[in-house]
Amino acid sequence: MGKLFAVVVVVIALASAVPLITHTWYGSAIRLAPPEDISTHGHAIDEQLSETMIEAGLSFLAAQFVLAFFVWRFSSRPANAEIKSFPGGARGLVIAAVVLVGTEMLALGVLGQKAWAAVYFAPAKPDALQIQAQAGQFAFYFRYPGADGKLGDLHPDKIDEGNSNFFGLDPANDVESRDDIVTGELAIPANREVHLLMHAKDVGHSFYVRELRIQQDFVPGLDLSVHFTATKIGKYEIVCTQLCGLGHYNMKAYLSVLSQEDFDSWLKQKASEQ
């Protein structure tokens, strides 16, 4: 029985490693890895991820194999078999653990700081394109400053979705808000930094674009912001990752990364629809 356990553990360990190495679901076409990164900061995160994958994966396999081997070797020994102690004893193992994990930690920690800092420590450039994102049950809306380059103020009491006033603008009194462009999809020019001002209308939500390697919560009452630069033209999904109610699973919007001129014409088009 002990030998069977050993075999099963080894098989499981190997089988578990396969999809992590092939990035697919056992030979099928289903891709099981982060989609291609389209951001300027993402590669750091990806390197970090693969570093960790190697270190964690090796320790995983090593531990499972040792477990399997010892169980195979030492289960069901005769009752008079002599009890041996692991060479080096506890002290050796403690030192090994501290050294191994310690170095692993430092390596990851330092690298991790770099990747993390790239996203969160560097402030947005002043010339970054400012867009406001509002999350509400259960849709994202985005607001671009119009010709005046200014965003009008928000008046929660003015929110009127029946008239598509999702942000609570007050065009009657607030001139700056009259030319604001409100859209249901986020279009951005490629290779230009975007500074996303995040506002939650009701409860907590989150802004998650896999390809951008960006995830940031919308916290009600606390207007946060993220900044990123997309490099690859295309259409991607923005999804909510913070449980926000019955429509959570269907709370999404599309991010289209356009060339500068496409972006300009898109913005004109949207402005005409306001």
């Binding site: 099963v8 930690m105 109610g245 429509g247 699973y249």
Partner: protein, 590 residues
């Protein structure tokens, strides 16, 4: 004045006679332990049923589940689950499993039964508190289950109940009415129960150890329960105020967690200035130690069983105990790693990341010591030891994925994906449950006086071990692909291609769940038909095996054992074979 006349030595509580005092409102720690076990069993059956429904809905979203419409007419019109009902099931599953299974079974159930015996006490320090803490837990359970049947649906804010969704009330949609309030109330009551329980455990361990039972001579399981009770005392003492403030926000219109200017369902909410992050901080300050409340007792139980089946002590008794202490201590400094993307200061994110990585050191040391102790042992393979070995395997698998989530930069991508779900199900859910299974197979003879069917036990192990790996390993892969958790259906273009993997998981989950019937059958059958158990079937050294099975009412018949040595004297030559009981004065022959 006839003061003190006609007084005799009397025990604190004589054996009760009436059925009620014997089996319902019993003060006996053994009965209470079994009551906790029963409650956990009930909760786990419900919780697993819910997970079945969720898994089925996930992969066949528009298929009616026959009979579901009777469970909830609005939740499942025509048997087709609505999104909000899925989230309610998810919330109930999480709450039941974390609070009423993972906190109750390894800690309250086994701890109540065996901690006093293992230290040679005749009962807990405060038997009445003990009874109160169980029945308070039971009340909390009833309140939670009641939330299933309220008019506007069971709560759906998840077991973490993030404010303001959990705080604003019915405007936020179905499940945010009375149901959510009951959820908060249930947690509040549960906190009181856990505080009473922990207080009892600590006082018992410190004061009621029998002669010669020094702290260093306590079995590792006792140490685990003791450390756990210290953790839970402080953790639940924080969740208690938090849940109170949440309830007040809901019913009294206060604004602790609800900021100003929220517009929900076209209505401007009459609140001002609250802080949603405050809830997250308070909750996770409890929530992360809670993980260790679930896993530490399992570690203790597993070590205890492993030593017994290896027929040798661990390489170091002390180091393991220090590691558990270290884990317990560090568990209070890492809560922020649940909030990396909640807009916390990026520096503090790193401050939380570091101890999170550090906490892997004691965990690794323990793992290495378990493995190192296997070397050169005389490992006996029983159902119990299989589950103990399975625990190690699971703990490793679930542990390494912690490496990823501990790093904020990677967490940006993996946060709130199935990677997290796989991680905590393995390391906290399955591993802890393996500890409970191991404990059950190991202590069942002592608790009931009947042996359990070993063959069925081993069959059950293979089902569970392989099954759980097939369920929870793929979760990690899905997470790496960016599969978001807590979705009631996968409609995004990005997620639809992943559905076949989910279908595989669902099918395995159904099978594995069915495999648990073997355990239930074994439990019930052995309880009545099992072979009578000798006092010490596993040739174990700790005190619980020095008495008949099941133990008499006051454990040691008024005579308190004297402990002569450390808990794990295996691999020695003695009149009894290769081991020496803690309370035997006999000296081991060289």
């Amino acid at each position: 004045m006839s003061e003190g006349s006609a007084q005799t030595v009397q025990h604190q509580h004589a054996p009760p006679q009436s059925f009620i005092r014997k089996h319902v409102f019993s003060l006996d720690h053994k009965v209470i332990g079994l009551q906790y076990y029963g409650l956990a069993l009930l909760a786990v059956v419900i919780g697993m049923g819910l997970s079945w429904l969720m898994r089925i809905h996930l992969v066949w979203p528009n298929a009616p589940i026959p009979g579901l419409q009777w469970l909830s007419k609005t939740g499942a019109p025509g048997g087709i689950m609505t999104p909000e009902y899925y989230l309610s099931l998810l919330t109930m599953h999480g709450t039941l499993m974390v609070f009423f299974v993972l906190t109750n079974a390894p800690f309250a159930a086994f701890g109540n039964y065996f901690l006093p015996i293992q230290i040679g006490a005749e009962d807990m320090a405060f038997p009445r508190f003990n009874m109160m803490s169980f029945w308070t837990t039971f009340v909390a359970f009833c309140i939670l289950v009641a939330a299933f049947f309220v008019h506007d649906g069971p709560p759906l804010a998840g077991w973490t109940a993030y404010a303001p969704l959990s705080a604003v009330g019915p405007d936020a949609g179905p499940g945010e009415g009375l149901g959510q309030t009951l959820w908060g109330l249930s947690i509040f009551v549960f906190c009181i129960a856990s505080l009473l329980g922990s207080l009892n455990f600590i006082a018992t361990t410190l004061d009621l150890r029998t002669k010669g039972m020094t702290l260093a001579r306590m079995p590792i399981s006792t140490w685990a329960w003791f450390i756990t009770s210290c953790i839970s005392l402080l953790a639940f003492a924080v969740l208690l105020p938090a849940s109170l403030l949440l309830i007040l926000d809901r019913v009294a219109g206060t604004s602790f967690f609800i900021p100003a200017g929220l517009v929900i369902s076209d209505r401007l909410q009459p609140h001002s200035g609250g802080s949603p992050l405050l809830w997250q901080h308070l909750f996770w300050f409890f929530g992360h130690p809670e993980v260790y409340i679930a896993i530490l007792p399992a570690m203790g139980i597993v070590s205890h069983i492993l030593i017994n089946s290896m027929r040798r002590p661990l390489l170091s008794h002390k180091v393991v105990i220090y590691c558990m202490m270290g884990i317990g201590f560090l568990s209070y400094m890492v809560w922020g790693h649940h909030m990396f993307v909640s807009g916390m200061n990026p520096f503090s994110a790193l401050m939380f990341s570091f101890p999170t990585l550090v906490i892997t050191i004691p965990a690794t040391i323990m793992t290495l010591i378990w493995l190192g102790s296997l070397y050169g042992s005389r490992l006996r393979i029983t159902a119990a030891s299989l589950f103990a070995l399975g625990f190690i395997s699971m703990f490793v698998s679930g542990g390494v994925s912690g490496f990823f989530l501990a790093q904020p930069s990677i967490d940006i991508f993996l946060h709130a994906t199935y990677f997290v779900v796989g991680h905590f199900h393995m390391v906290m859910g399955v591993a802890a449950i393996f500890g409970v299974f191991a404990g059950t197979y190991f202590w069942f003879p002592k608790m009931t006086g009947h042996m359990m069917d070993e063959r069925l036990g081993k069959l059950h192990f293979w089902f569970t071990f392989i099954g759980t790996y097939c369920i929870f390993m793929p979760f990690h892969y899905l997470g790496l692909a960016g599969n978001v958790r807590r979705y009631s259906a996968f409609v995004d273009d990005f997620l639809v291609p992943l559905i076949p993997v989910h279908r595989f998981i669902t099918i395995v989950a159904l099978l594995t769940g069915a495999g648990q019937l073997i355990f239930l059958y074994n439990l019930i059958h052995s309880r009545f038909r099992g072979a009578p158990a000798p006092p010490n079937p596993w040739e174990c050294t700790s005190l619980e095996w020095s008495m008949p099975s099941p133990p008499p009412f006051d454990n040691f018949g008024g005579n308190h054992p004297v402990v002569y040595r450390d808990p794990y004297q295996y691999g020695v030559k003695s009149s009894t074979g290769d081991y020496l009981m803690q309370d035997s004065p006999e000296e081991a022959k060289a």
